[in-house]
């Protein structure tokens, strides 16, 4: 293992922040929604740092220890998510029941399908728990996966990949199955592909984007409630 001088590790936090802000500025300049999805700053930041750690043979444990400050701030940030949730709630009161119902169905489907695949492939339980909460924004997925005994870092990477795929191919899929309703497309994108899908939905049509952001916000809340109850139930009843 290459050992950096101890005083070098404090650079972890400034490097993460600088890298993310740089990549976000780059992402904002992208014109097409496909390029915007591929240059997702979180995905690229994680990829760049992972490649650096692997190639320089630096221990992840030290990196994690010295970037704890950022990980600690994740908890209050998740609490602050109540604000956009509230802002979306008051705009969709008319269709709230229908959107709540379909979002719940989508979350149950995502957890159930992922669980069936883990049974089919006979994967270890920690891997099965890691894919239980993927159709949701990354911070919620991290916390839920952690509470289920899964590998939260793997879940974070999977969530981003799912968002990217949804953003790139989601609308092609809708065309293929002839689903043209903006409301339906928006709710589906927000439920299945969270923020990255919502960004692509906004680029497609403002109405699709509006419904997608509502569904994304509601899915965050519903995933937090449904998955910690559903996953142990599936494990106990089907395994």
């Amino acid at each position: 293992m290459t050992e950096l001088k101890p005083d070098i590790w404090w650079l972890c936090v400034p490097i993460i922040i600088a890298l993310f802000l740089l990549l976000r500025a780059f992402n904002v300049r992208m014109k097409s929604s496909a390029l915007k999805s591929i240059t997702n700053p979180v995905f690229l930041s994680i990829a760049v740092i992972a490649l650096l750690l692997i190639n320089l043979n630096l221990p992840y444990s030290k990196f994690a220890y010295h970037s704890q400050l950022l990980s600690w701030l994740l908890e209050p940030a998740i609490v602050a998510l109540a604000l956009p949730l509230y802002q979306q709630f008051i705009h969709v009161r008319k269709n709230l029941l229908l959107i709540l119902g379909t979002c719940s169905l989508g979350i149950v489907n995502a957890t159930f399908v992922a669980f069936l695949l883990s049974v089919f492939f006979k994967v270890p339980s920690e891997l099965s728990a890691s894919v239980a909460a993927l159709s949701v924004t990354t911070p919620i997925s991290l916390i839920v996966t952690d509470s289920l005994g899964g590998i939260s870092s793997l879940a974070a990477a999977m969530v981003i990949f799912i968002g990217l795929l949804g953003a790139l191919f989601g609308f092609m899929l809708f065309k293929l199955v002839k689903i043209g309703s903006h409301e339906s497309q928006g709710v589906a994108m927000g439920t299945a592909c969270h923020a990255i899908g919502t960004a692509a939905a906004l680029a497609e049509h403002p109405k699709i984007g509006a419904f997608s952001s509502v569904a994304m916000a509601l899915s965050a809340l519903l995933t937090a409630i449904i998955v910690p109850l559903l996953y142990p139930f599936l494990v106990n009843s089907l395994l």
Binding site: L53, F63, P76, L83, T102, S152, I162, V187, A188
Partner: protein
């Protein structure tokens, strides 16, 4: 003062949720419970949007930075990923595709029923 109040609301909700989870011994994640508590307080009008905004808006703006360290952690599990890549690839393709199809179809079904009524 407004920043102090805003951060105090967030931290108080988090502290309450942690206490609830500690005394009930449940496995529900405390930050998520705190988010639900804060949402209920907002919907009930006990906490106003403008009280929360000063601290919540900037923290939400830079939120993606906070999960980068955790996201990098997948390099600790490269062997597990290598040995289970068919499973992981299936999940990445099948889970979002099935969810997109199911949710959009159900939405179309209920919307057309509502319009017919």
């Amino acid at each position: 003062m407004k920043y102090l109040l805003s951060s105090a609301i967030i931290l108080l909700c988090l502290a309450c949720a942690k206490l609830i989870m500690y005394y009930t011994g449940g496995s529900f994640p405390a930050p998520l419970l705190a988010m639900v508590i804060l949402l209920v307080l907002l919907l009930a009008g006990i906490v106003k949007e403008q009280h929360l905004k000063p601290c919540a808006s900037p923290i939400l703006n830079v939120m993606p930075i906070f999960f980068i360290p955790a996201g990098v952690g997948f390099i600790e599990h490269l062997n597990l990923i290598k040995s289970n890549w068919p499973f992981l690839m299936s999940v990445i393709f099948i889970v979002p595709a099935s969810t997109l199809l199911l949710v959009s179809s159900v939405m179309v079904f209920f919307k057309s029923r509502k319009n017919n009524d």
